[in-house]
C-alpha cells in the first residue's frame, strides 16, 4: 500500500532535532497544514493542497466566506433546531419542562416528570442536533480552518450543555454568538458572548443583583415582582466577573485582584435574560443594576451609571496587553506547540494589539511564523479526542451517515462536545489526553473504524489498500506493521492507531 513515508527525517524526531536549518518538504508542509488547520487529510487531500499551493490553500481557508460549502449545507438541512431562534427553541423544547414542573404532583420522580414531556419536545434533541452539525462539519466541510477555529473559540468561551437552560441556548450561542465573530474583532466576539443568554446563564450573571442598599430607588418592589420572593435576598454573584478576566481576557496572572472581581461583578449587575416564557433573551435590567460609584482595574465609575459601564469594561479588557498575550498564548498552544516559544507568543500578541484585536490577522500571524513551519513543530502536538477521531474518519475516506455514535465515542474518550463542565473548557495540551487508558480507547476506535465496525460511519474496506492514509510513519513503525503481513483492513487500523497518527 502506498503511504506518505519517504523521508529519513522522520527518525530525527525521536532523537531530538537540534533547532536546525532543516526545512519541511512541500509534501510535509501540506500534511502539516492539513493536520493543524484542518481535521486531518482525506485521501488525496495532500496532493490537492500541493497542487493549489500550500500558501494559497491557507489563504483560502483564512477567508471561509469565499468557500462554498453546499454539500455540508445540504446535509444540515435535515436538522430543524439549527434554524430556530433561541425563543423558538425555548418555547418548544424547554417550556414543556417548566409546565411539567408546575403540574407535577408532590412526590413526582424525575422519571414521572420525563413522561410528562412529549417525546418530540425533549431538549436532548437540541443538543443531539448540535453535536451532529459539529461532527458533520468537521468531517466534511471545505471550510476546515473555520471549523478548527469554531472549536477553539467555543472552548475558549466554554458553555456547558448540562447546566439547565443552557441545553436549549447553545444552538444560538454557536450560530449567532461565536461563528459570525471569529474572523472579526476580538472585542465584538467578547461583547457578543457577554450579552449571550447562554453565557449569562452558565456563569450566573443573569441572576446577579445589586445589594439592596445599592439599588436604584423603587427598584426593590420591581425585583420582587419579577422573581417572586426568592429575589428578596438578591445580591451579587461573582462568577462571570471572575471568569471573564481569568479565562476570557486577561488570564489568571493578568494583574487583577479579588477587589476587581467584586467591583466588576457590580458593573455587570443587570446584564440578564428574560424569563423562559419570554424567550430567554438578553436584557439589561436597570432595576438590578448597582448604581453606586465603583472602581475596576483603576477605572472609576460615578454613581448613576447603567449598561455602558459593562460595555466600557469589555472594551478595556479586550484591548489590554494582558489579553493580547493570553489570546496569543492560547492560539499558539492550539496551533503550534503545547509550550510555544515566548518570542512567537510575543509577536502574535503584538499583532493582536496592532490590528485592534483582528482575529484573522492574529491567526495569520501564528500561521505565517517560522515557528509554525519549523520541523520541530511537525507532529509535535498530540491530537485531542475530537481531532483524533475526526482525522481518522477523514483519513480512511469514511462517510458519516449518523454522527451520534461518533459523539458518544468522543464522550468515551473524554471530550464530549458541549460537555465540559468547568468554564476552562478542555485542555489543549497533550498531558490531558495521554495515558494508557486513553490510548486503549483510541486503539480500539482505530481498529473498529478501519474494519467498518464503527456505527454511523461507512468505510469502503475494499479501497483501504489503495489510498494514502494521512500520516508519515517512521521507519520503525512501518517495519512493525509490514512484519505483520496483515490484510489491508488490519494494516489501516494499525496505521490509525500508530503513535504517528496520534500526533499532528
Amino acid at each position: 500500500m502506498k503511504r506518505l513515508m519517504t523521508l529519513p527525517l522522520a527518525l530525527l524526531l525521536l532523537t531530538g532535532l537540534s533547532s536546525s536549518d532543516a526545512k519541511l518538504t512541500e509534501r510535509q508542509r501540506a500534511l502539516h497544514a492539513l493536520n493543524r488547520l484542518a481535521f486531518g487529510a482525506r485521501p488525496g487531500d495532500v496532493d490537492r493542497v500541493m497542487q493549489i499551493g500550500v500558501d494559497q490553500w491557507i489563504d483560502q481557508q483564512l477567508h471561509p466566506e469565499s468557500i462554498p460549502d453546499r454539500d455540508v449545507d445540504a446535509r444540515l438541512a435535515q436538522y430543524d433546531t439549527l434554524k430556530m431562534t433561541d425563543s423558538q427553541i425555548v418555547a418548544k423544547y424547554y417550556m414543556p419542562i417548566v409546565e411539567a414542573r408546575k403540574a407535577r404532583k408532590e412526590n413526582a420522580t424525575q422519571e414521572d416528570l420525563r413522561k410528562m414531556i412529549p417525546p418530540d419536545q425533549r431538549p436532548q434533541r437540541v443538543v443531539a442536533e448540535l453535536n451532529s452539525q459539529r461532527i458533520l462539519r468537521a468531517a466534511g466541510s471545505d471550510r476546515q480552518l473555520n471549523e478548527v477555529m469554531v472549536d477553539f473559540w467555543m472552548n475558549h468561551f466554554n458553555v456547558f450543555a448540562g447546566k439547565g437552560l443552557d441545553r436549549v441556548l447553545l444552538t444560538s450561542y454557536e450560530r449567532d454568538t461565536i461563528r459570525p465573530h471569529i474572523w472579526g474583532k476580538f472585542e465584538d466576539l467578547l461583547m457578543a458572548t457577554a450579552k449571550s443568554p447562554a453565557m449569562l446563564f452558565y456563569l450566573d450573571n443573569a441572576r446577579s443583583v445589586a445589594a439592596p442598599e445599592n439599588r436604584p430607588q423603587r427598584a426593590q418592589r420591581f425585583i420582587e415582582q419579577m422573581a417572586g420572593n426568592k429575589a428578596k435576598q438578591g445580591g451579587l454573584n461573582e462568577n462571570y466577573a471572575r471568569e471573564i478576566m481569568e479565562l476570557h481576557t486577561l488570564g489568571v496572572d493578568g494583574g487583577y485582584t479579588q477587589k476587581d472581581v467584586t467591583e466588576l461583578a457590580r458593573v455587570f449587575t443587570g446584564w440578564s435574560i428574560t424569563r423562559p416564557e419570554e424567550g430567554a433573551e438578553f436584557r439589561f435590567r436597570p432595576a438590578m443594576h448597582d448604581t453606586q460609584a465603583k472602581s475596576v482595574l483603576g477605572v472609576r465609575f460615578g454613581a448613576g451609571g447603567g449598561i455602558e459601564e459593562g460595555e466600557k469594561m469589555i472594551h478595556i479588557l479586550a484591548h489590554s496587553p494582558a489579553t493580547a498575550h493570553h489570546i496569543a498564548l492560547q492560539l499558539c498552544q492550539r496551533l503550534v506547540a503545547d509550550n510555544p516559544p515566548k518570542a512567537l507568543v510575543d509577536r502574535v500578541a503584538k499583532r493582536f494589539l496592532q490590528t485592534d484585536g483582528d482575529l484573522r490577522e492574529t491567526v495569520r500571524a501564528v500561521i505565517d511564523s517560522k515557528e509554525f513551519w519549523d520541523p520541530q513543530a511537525y507532529r509535535a502536538k498530540v491530537k485531542s479526542p475530537f481531532e483524533y477521531a475526526l482525522s481518522a474518519v477523514r483519513a480512511v475516506g469514511g462517510t458519516v451517515d449518523n454522527p451520534l455514535p461518533l459523539a458518544r465515542e468522543l464522550q468515551k474518550m473524554g471530550e464530549p462536545l458541549y460537555g465540559a463542565q468547568p468554564p476552562t473548557g478542555y485542555s489543549d495540551k497533550a498531558d490531558a489526553w495521554m495515558n494508557t487508558g486513553a490510548l486503549m480507547n483510541r486503539l480500539n476506535f482505530a481498529l473498529a473504524l478501519a474494519s467498518n465496525k464503527m456505527p454511523g460511519v461507512r468505510v469502503d474496506t475494499t479501497k483501504l489498500g489503495t489510498i494514502d492514509i494521512g500520516t508519515e510513519l517512521t521507519a520503525e513503525t512501518k517495519k512493525t506493521i509490514e512484519d505483520r503481513h496483515a490484510d489491508s483492513v488490519t494494516t489501516a487500523g494499525l496505521i490509525l492507531g500508530s503513535p504517528e497518527f496520534q500526533r499532528q
Binding site: 441572576r207 472581581v261 506547540a337 503545547d338 468547568p422 495515558n435 473498529a448 496483515a486
Partner: protein
C-alpha cells in the same frame, strides 16, 4: 524554542521505544502483584469547591446562622458529632462510621494559596505545590516514585477517569481508565502485538493483569448497593480492584457539581442531593469491602471552600478553607480535627471566608507516611516544611 516532546518518553504515555513481546513477564508481574495486604489510599476530589460549612456544620456558632439566613442547616437537623459540629443530614448513610470511629473530619483545612480560581486551586492542590505553576507532576505520582518498589504492580495507581488527572501525572506509573472491564485492545492478537511493539509493552502490562484477574466480574458484597451515578460506579470498580488483589496502592476519582453559586439549598435542595449521592457511594464502598476496609483509607478533598455569607442568589461564592473526610482502617475517627478559627467578626480570612488552620499537605503527609509507608516526603511536597509535629493524628 522549547517545543514539548517529553510525551513519547513518559512511561505512562506513548513510548515509541519498541520493546520485545515478553509474554511471560506479565505472568510473573501478575503473580508478584497478587500479594495480599497491600495497603490502599483512595482519594476523591470534589471538583467545583464543595461548601464545607454545610457539609460539616458548625452548629454551635451563632455567626454561621447569621451569615446564612436561607441556606443554613438547622441545629435540629444535623447529625451531631461533638455538640459543636454536626454532619449534613444527607450524610446519614456514612453516619454510622462516625459512631464506630472509622470516620474522621478535618475542618478549616486547605491550600494556603489565596487564589479563588477553580482551575488554579485544583492545579495547586494536585501538584502539591500551592503558588507554583511550573510543577510538572502531581504529588500522588511523586509519592509513588518515592516508594519505588520492584514488585510494584502496573496497576499500583489507577484513576477512574477518561484522562489521567493532574494529581497522578508524572512518572509514578499511574493509569487512567473509565471502565475496568473494557480496558485493553479488543481486536485480533496480531493487532495487539503490533501496538505493543509500537508503544512498548509497558503500556499493556496493566491490561494483561486485568484480563486474567477479571475484577469486573466481582459482585458487591455484604448487601452493598452502589448508587447509579458516576461516583458510585467509580468506587464500585475501585472496590473490585482491591478485592482482586491486583496490587492497587493509590486510587483516585473525582466528582463534580459542587459549584453552588445559586440555589444551594440547606437541609434539602441542590447541595443536599449531591451530598446524598456522595455519601451513599462512600457508604456502599465501605460496606462492600467489609473487613478489607482495615487496609484501606479513603480521603476526600476539594479545591477551596465557599464564602461564609450566602450570596444574593441563595448560594455561596468562592472561599478559602474547607473540610476533608478520612475514613477507613486505622482512622481515629468520630471526631473533628483541626483548630477551629471561628466565624465571627475579625476571625474570617479576608473578612469573608473560613480561615485555614491545617494545610492539606499535613493531612496528606500523614496519610502517605502511615498508610503507604512513603518515607521521603520532602520530594512529595518540595519547599514545604513537612513535619510530623504538624500532623493531626488522624491515623493510628
Amino acid at each position: 524554542m522549547s517545543i514539548d516532546r517529553r510525551f513519547f518518553l513518559k512511561s505512562s504515555g506513548l513510548a515509541l521505544v519498541a520493546g520485545g513481546l515478553l509474554p511471560n513477564v506479565f505472568v510473573k508481574m501478575a503473580n508478584a502483584a497478587t500479594t495480599k495486604g497491600k495497603k490502599t489510599l483512595v482519594a476523591i476530589f470534589q471538583r467545583g469547591a464543595v461548601d464545607g460549612l454545610n457539609v460539616i456544620v458548625p452548629f454551635g456558632e451563632k455567626a454561621y446562622y447569621d451569615a446564612r439566613p436561607t441556606i443554613a442547616v438547622a441545629r435540629d437537623q444535623v447529625i451531631n458529632i461533638d455538640d459543636f459540629f454536626g454532619a449534613h443530614p444527607s450524610l446519614v448513610s456514612i453516619a454510622p462510621y462516625f459512631k464506630d470511629k472509622s470516620l474522621a473530619v478535618v475542618h478549616a483545612v486547605g491550600s494556603p494559596d489565596t487564589t479563588r480560581s477553580h482551575f488554579d486551586a485544583q492545579d495547586f492542590m494536585e501538584s502539591g505545590t500551592p503558588g507554583v505553576k511550573t510543577t510538572e507532576d502531581g504529588f500522588l505520582s511523586r509519592a509513588l516514585v518515592c516508594k519505588h518498589d520492584q514488585t510494584a504492580s502496573p496497576l499500583r495507581a489507577v484513576a477512574l477517569s477518561p484522562a489521567l488527572p493532574r494529581i497522578l501525572s508524572g512518572s509514578g506509573g499511574a493509569v487512567a481508565m473509565s471502565n475496568i472491564a473494557q480496558f485493553g485492545v479488543q481486536g485480533a492478537a496480531d493487532a495487539q502485538s503490533a501496538f505493543e511493539s509500537m508503544y512498548g509493552s509497558a503500556s499493556f502490562e496493566a491490561t494483561k493483569i486485568l484480563k486474567s484477574a477479571a475484577p469486573a466480574k466481582l459482585q458487591p458484597e455484604n448487601g452493598a448497593v452502589y448508587p447509579n451515578n458516576q461516583l458510585g460506579n467509580s468506587l464500585k470498580q475501585i472496590a473490585q480492584l482491591i478485592k482482586s488483589n491486583v496490587g492497587l496502592e493509590v486510587a483516585f476519582t473525582d466528582v463534580s457539581g459542587w459549584d453552588t453559586h445559586a440555589g444551594e439549598g440547606g437541609a434539602q435542595g441542590q447541595l443536599a442531593n449531591n451530598l446524598r449521592n456522595f455519601s451513599d457511594a462512600i457508604a456502599a464502598f465501605t460496606k462492600d469491602l467489609g473487613s478489607r476496609m482495615s487496609d484501606v483509607v479513603l480521603v476526600t478533598m476539594s479545591e477551596f471552600g465557599r464564602t461564609v455569607r450566602e450570596n444574593g442568589n441563595r448560594g455561596t461564592d468562592h472561599g478559602h478553607a474547607n473540610v476533608m473526610l478520612v475514613l477507613g482502617g486505622g482512622v481515629k475517627g468520630g471526631k473533628v480535627y483541626g483548630k477551629w478559627p471561628g466565624l465571627g467578626a475579625g476571625q474570617l480570612f479576608e473578612n469573608r471566608d473560613l480561615a485555614i488552620t491545617t494545610d492539606f499537605r499535613d493531612v496528606f503527609s500523614e496519610l502517605l507516611a502511615k498508610q503507604l509507608g512513603v518515607g521521603t516526603l520532602k520530594t512529595v511536597f518540595p519547599s514545604y516544611d513537612v513535619s510530623p509535629s504538624k500532623w493531626r493524628g488522624v491515623l493510628a
